[in-house]
């Protein structure tokens, strides 16, 4: 049975609240996801939270009740609490009525089966967790297998990234690696590494893209290091018709991912 908790100093409340901090997330190996829609996405992808906090202030949605029951049956810690306390945990003024703490999956490259999808997104040193979440959401929409985070990156398990992913954090494989490690892994099997760059005359609309295609997106302010570009099988440029010389990283990833998918549409 759920425990009723109305105290901010309760241990489970403090533990959940702590998960907004990267070090605590890393230590616990857990991350927070909020809202029935995302918790249902997780359940449909085979994942249940280890801790759930919810408010019954506006009633409990039948789907929420199902997830709570399923998680309890698997030994989850479940607390019923107040909107105020949920607000403190999520850092939002208008919190969702339910949130869960999930186990972070293994982020080793070895967890990736490159044959499982024709498209993978690789992002280097992303700084903005919202961009990571948005790229995961785009990956889900374009049938990518997942996202490989290269070098030091914002935390994909942060509340902001999970929120922006709209549930795709549960459907996309997420891996993390240093560049050298990634290149060594990539070259062990098939895969075309495609970088987006200003330092090329190849328009992104022209090439035939291979499968699996690994789309490499550079850091928000610096773009890709020259030595990383040199390693790519193909560099392509998205034409910039205005005064700006770059795109938002999540936008660049999406335009490339949708175009590559579209280029395969009439493939036999």
């Amino acid at each position: 049975m759920p425990r009723q908790i109305t105290s901010f100093s309760n241990e489970t409340v403090k533990r959940l609240r702590g998960l907004r901090d990267k070090k605590v997330r890393k230590g616990e190996g857990l991350f927070l996801a909020e809202g029935l829609r995302i918790l249902a996405e997780a359940r449909d992808s085979g994942m249940l939270p280890e801790i759930i906090a919810y408010s019954a202030a506006a009633g409990v949605h039948p789907l929420a009740a199902e997830i709570i029951a399923a998680a309890e049956a698997r030994g989850a810690d479940v607390i019923e609490t107040t909107p105020d306390i949920l607000s403190k945990m999520s850092g939002k003024d208008n919190p969702q009525a339910i949130l869960g703490a999930y186990r972070q999956p293994d982020m080793a490259l070895a967890a990736i089966d490159r044959a499982a999808a024709p498209l993978w997104i690789v992002a280097q040193a992303l700084r903005d967790p919202g961009n990571i979440g948005t790229i995961l959401r785009t990956g889900d929409a374009t049938g990518a297998g997942g996202l490989i985070l290269i070098d030091d990156s914002a935390d994909p398990w942060s509340v902001e990234a999970v929120r922006a992913s709209m549930g795709a954090i549960f459907t996309q494989t997420v891996a993390s690696a240093r560049w050298e490690e990634f290149i060594a892994w990539l070259r062990e099997g098939p895969g075309q590494l495609v970088g987006t760059s200003l330092n090329t005359s190849h328009d992104y609309l022209d090439p035939d893209y291979d499968q699996p295609c690994f789309l490499l997106i550079g850091n928000e302010s610096q773009g890709l290091p020259p030595s990383y570009e040199a390693e790519c099988d193909l560099l392509v440029k998205m034409p910039m018709l205005g005064r700006a010389d770059s795109l938002n990283a999540a936008v660049a990833a999406a335009v490339m991912a949708f175009h590559v998918r579209a280029s395969w549409r009439n493939r036999s």
Copy 2:
């Protein structure tokens, strides 16, 4: 000559700081832009700030000195201040060394010359100022003429929107209108209104897009109201290959804008 200001209670400091508030921005008719890169973009687009604050703590870049001199010559209020005070104004821990307050341009539809560009982006009830800025940046990259904000929208003059636009706030025309007003204006001249929707079987890759094309993007969580979809000349769907049923609004705008441009590439 710039005045040296080191007091948080100085009137110009308070005035600039106040511009982070929407009501104050509206009352003053000004907005804040930060950073030499964006101020240079503004200058190259013919706009100079009415107020400038900068720090000489790390020296003054020659380009900053040029902009400061040009603005002063036009009667701008210029203050030299501390990084701490700049931080208070911008709300950032590591503030840019220069910021300016600019006059908000007229946002009436009448300010738009639809013949000036083949592509315009129209966004309905956007809630996230970051999305507005990102869409402006995409509009610049795809040669759009500007962004028309429909109904109640986040403020394009907010610090977050200006920052995400990376200077495109100065190169794109920004207008604001109620839906009925927009439709009446649109139908007075040429223009194909293209909505993105799940309620159609038309894949976005198939149609011939007319010029000028008005791309209509729906609110982040609700999408377009059915009555707005009914008004579109064309509804198209971006295929969703995963579990998610929607895209980030700025991503949807970018994928459509880049595709429409690409579809025109071989046009005579």
